[in-house]
């Protein structure tokens, strides 16, 4: 029985955590949050240099050949720091090609994705909250015509993995003819979203895309859950710290029992969630029959808990918590993204019910 991270995983978390703490402290984060262009190429390059571009990609293609759990523990750290950037969509794009691409596609793209030469992202949402492979209606008949919503960092990406009708995946190079992108007014400005319009754009199917798409979904669910867990932990810590420093009535407000209990309740909601995403990530690689359902439960439970904790954190900060200048709002919106992207908690709970045969 070893339900814990390995030394290597803890080291990975520490390394990445240290890196983002140095390279993207709250002051820098705030600049990026408020900036017109939210993509920090220096920060992303740093992450790539740490090897975050290809954690789960096979060694032979320049990846680290690690597992979903390794990827997810990094996602937690990035959520904890609210680090801006395309880590999740880039990782998913690589995974999609690794799982669904031809040898030739792998050889062409994976080394570039791992090295950061190519920035990848995923285009998997269609209007009407249609994130699921069964719901994709964009037809790939040699070329693509139509649109995808909420594509992270599409304007910076080089390569798009696009979900198409029939549940398959195709590759589209962003600078090809017939591809245009337009920024969407997203809440989470650490992960900018775009509408991508295809007008006869050329695309290249992943031969095993239909098999890869559900894996792509499960991986996404796990990574978002991990990100939300990290963000929620940070929100608890921020609230506790505020209660320890803010004074009213001559004492720090952390003396007031009602607030203490609210903070304790927040911690109780968040702390036990760790294992949910760990297990879902573990199952992704090692327990095939539980992978899909564990991912659905982890995403729905953790992002829902994190959202409520984010609301509680605003209240715990009093008036200042409700302002743009308080960091809480940045993490709040991070959690909004994690909760809504790939479909809301209730949707995945219903999936979990179906998968259990209920």
């Amino acid at each position: 029985m070893n339900f814990d991270l390995s030394e290597e995983q803890l080291l990975l978390q520490e390394t990445v955590g240290q890196f983002v703490a140095n390279e993207c402290p709250p002051t820098r984060l705030r600049e990026l949050f408020d900036a017109d262009d939210g993509f920090d190429s220096v920060l992303w390059k740093g992450m790539i240099e740490l090897g975050l571009g290809g954690i789960t990609l096979p060694d032979e293609f320049g990846g680290a050949g690690l597992e979903m759990l390794d990827l997810a523990v990094v996602s937690e750290v990035l959520g904890h720091a609210c680090a801006p950037g395309p880590f999740v969509p880039h990782s998913l794009a690589g995974l999609a090609i690794a799982l669904g691409g031809s040898d030739e596609q792998k050889q062409r793209w994976l080394p570039r994705l791992a090295s950061g030469e190519t920035l990848g992202t995923v285009a998997i949402c269609e209007s009407g909250d249609r994130w699921q492979l069964e719901e994709w209606a964009l037809a790939a008949d040699g070329t693509l015509t139509g649109e995808k919503l909420h594509v992270p960092f599409a304007s910076n990406a080089d390569l798009l993995v696009v979900g198409v009708a029939g549940g398959g995946l195709v590759l589209v190079e962003r600078d090809s003819t017939g591809v245009s992108v337009e920024e969407i007014d997203g809440a989470d400005r650490t992960r900018r979203l775009f509408r991508v319009t295809f007008d006869g754009a050329s695309c290249e199917p992943l031969p095993e895309g239909v098999a890869a798409a559900p894996r792509l979904r499960d991986a996404g669910l796990v990574l978002l859950a991990a990100d939300a867990f990290g963000a929620a932990r940070r929100l608890v810590d921020m609230s506790v710290e505020y209660a320890q420093t803010r004074e009213q009535f001559g004492v720090t407000i952390g003396h007031f029992q009602a607030l203490k209990h609210q903070l304790a309740n927040m911690a109780v909601e968040v702390e036990p969630c760790r294992g949910l995403y760990w297990y879902a990530a573990h199952a992704f690689d090692h327990v095939a029959e539980e992978a899909e359902r564990s991912a659905a439960l982890a995403k729905s439970h953790i992002t829902d808990r994190a959202m409520q904790v984010a609301r509680d954190a605003v209240e715990a900060h009093g008036g200042i918590g409700f302002t743009w200048e308080c960091d809480v709002q940045i993490w709040f919106k991070r959690v909004m993204f994690d909760r809504a992207f790939l479909g809301a908690p209730a949707f995945h709970r219903e999936r979990a019910a179906q998968l259990a045969g209920w």
Partner: protein, 403 residues
């Protein structure tokens, strides 16, 4: 039980309708004026007719009518129906005018009340400071009498409408050596002078309802003080028996609920209107229980007020109940907007209906303000427990004698 207002009030309603048909909107040349001028003209006439500013003596520009909450309610209803301008809103008429009426010098009343109720003079409130929220009496803004002027230095926060305001009523520490609550004076400050620096305070929704106001060597004449030196805390706590709109908050929650039902009818879930979804139906019906309970509590309070009797715990609870409903509506609405839950908050001015899906994102966030603004939810609970249920005071609250 009778949910109509009775013959006397229905007669008043008839009068009001006649008056309003005659008087609003303005006709002819007057209709070409700008809205503020039209509103001022109309308010003057409605006041002369005895329908507005009823608790204000005639000599200060009011109509000086006997207090009656039902009359006030019928007037509000009919003015609302006719979309006619009601009493000038804002912190000036809500707080400064009643305070002046009860505590002000005669010359102060004459100088400021008429313009405030006509809407020509606007006010902002200078109470909270960055370090003084729940514990307001710990405020640090200093006022020093230099010659025949107060010189004021400090920083105020959560100041709505500070850009537009002509004056601020401001709690200021003028007696630094006195005990906490006894060292504060209630000063009036001209906002249009050097040294007053208003900076909008952006909210998490992106909007800016509030401001920070920095006061650097700001001046006020020595007699621009309400009450005596050191009495500011008590002056600011003055509770006036004026006609209060006890069902306003409940009306607001009903409006939000109606908007939420429309949203659920408009958006789709699993290929059908979301309102057909069993989970959504349960959530809406559960919330409706709270909304109706709140609404009826408003009627009850109005009735009791009109009899000069207490509505028990209800008045202490209104804010907390309104906040709970508004937050739950925000959560349900947010869950209904599908992938638009990824979007930034849209227009959602406090007190108005959410507009479109991004309006519901804004409702999801701005409803949190209810737990914070004007006394946090925890302070509301303290008040209910202590004043309502008779439980002992907190050790910490004991330190703040005035609360």
């Amino acid at each position: 039980m009778d949910l109509s207002y009775g013959d006397e009030y229905e007669a008043l309603r008839g009068e009001l309708r006649q008056f309003l048909t005659r008087s609003w909107p303005l006709q002819g040349e007057e209709a070409k004026l700008g809205f503020p001028e039209q509103a001022a003209l109309f308010r003057k006439r409605a006041t002369e007719a005895g329908y507005l500013n009823r608790s204000i003596p005639k000599r200060y520009g009011g109509s000086e009518q006997p207090a009656d909450v039902l009359t006030a309610q019928v007037i509000r209803e009919e003015f609302g129906r006719a979309k006619a301008p009601g009493e000038a809103r804002g912190i000036g008429t809500m707080m400064l005018v009643p305070t002046l009426l009860e505590r002000g010098e005669e010359w102060q009343k004459e100088k400021w009340i008429p313009g405030s109720i006509s809407g020509e003079i606007t006010w902002c409130q200078g109470y909270s400071e960055p370090g003084s929220g729940s514990d307001l009496a710990s405020l640090k803004t200093r006022g020093e009498l230099v010659g025949d002027e107060w010189v004021i230095n400090g920083q105020k926060i959560w100041t709505s409408g500070a850009q537009r305001a002509d004056f601020m009523f401001c709690l200021t520490r003028t007696e630094p050596d006195a005990p906490k609550h006894a060292g504060i004076s209630y000063l009036l400050i001209d906002m249009k002078q050097p040294g007053v620096d208003v900076r909008p305070l952006k909210q998490m929704t992106g909007g800016a309802t509030f401001n920070e106001v920095f006061l650097n060597d700001v001046r006020a004449p020595a007699d621009w003080i309400v009450g005596k030196r050191g009495e500011g805390w008590i002056v600011s706590r003055t509770t006036l028996k004026h006609e209060r709109n006890s069902i306003g908050a409940a009306t607001q929650t009903s409006v939000i609920f109606t908007a939420l039902v429309r949203l659920a009818q408009r958006v789709e879930k699993n290929g059908a209107p979301a309102i057909r979804d069993p989970v959504v139906r349960q959530r809406l019906a559960t919330l409706e229980g709270y909304v109706r309970a709140h609404q009826y509590s408003g009627y009850y309070q109005l009735t009791r007020d009109s009899k000069g009797e207490s509505a028990g715990l209800i008045p202490l609870m209104n804010k907390l109940i309104g906040t709970t409903i508004s937050q739950e509506a925000g959560k349900i609405g947010y869950d209904l907007v599908g992938e638009d839950a990824l979007l930034a908050a849209g227009e959602r001015t406090l007190g108005l209906m959410p507009k479109g899906n991004q309006g519901w994102v804004a409702q999801f966030m701005s409803s949190l303000g209810g737990s914070i603004a004007g006394g946090t939810a925890n302070i509301q609970r303290n008040i209910i427990a202590e004043r309502g249920l008779g439980l002992p005071r907190d050790a910490a609250a004991d330190r703040s004698a005035g609360k």
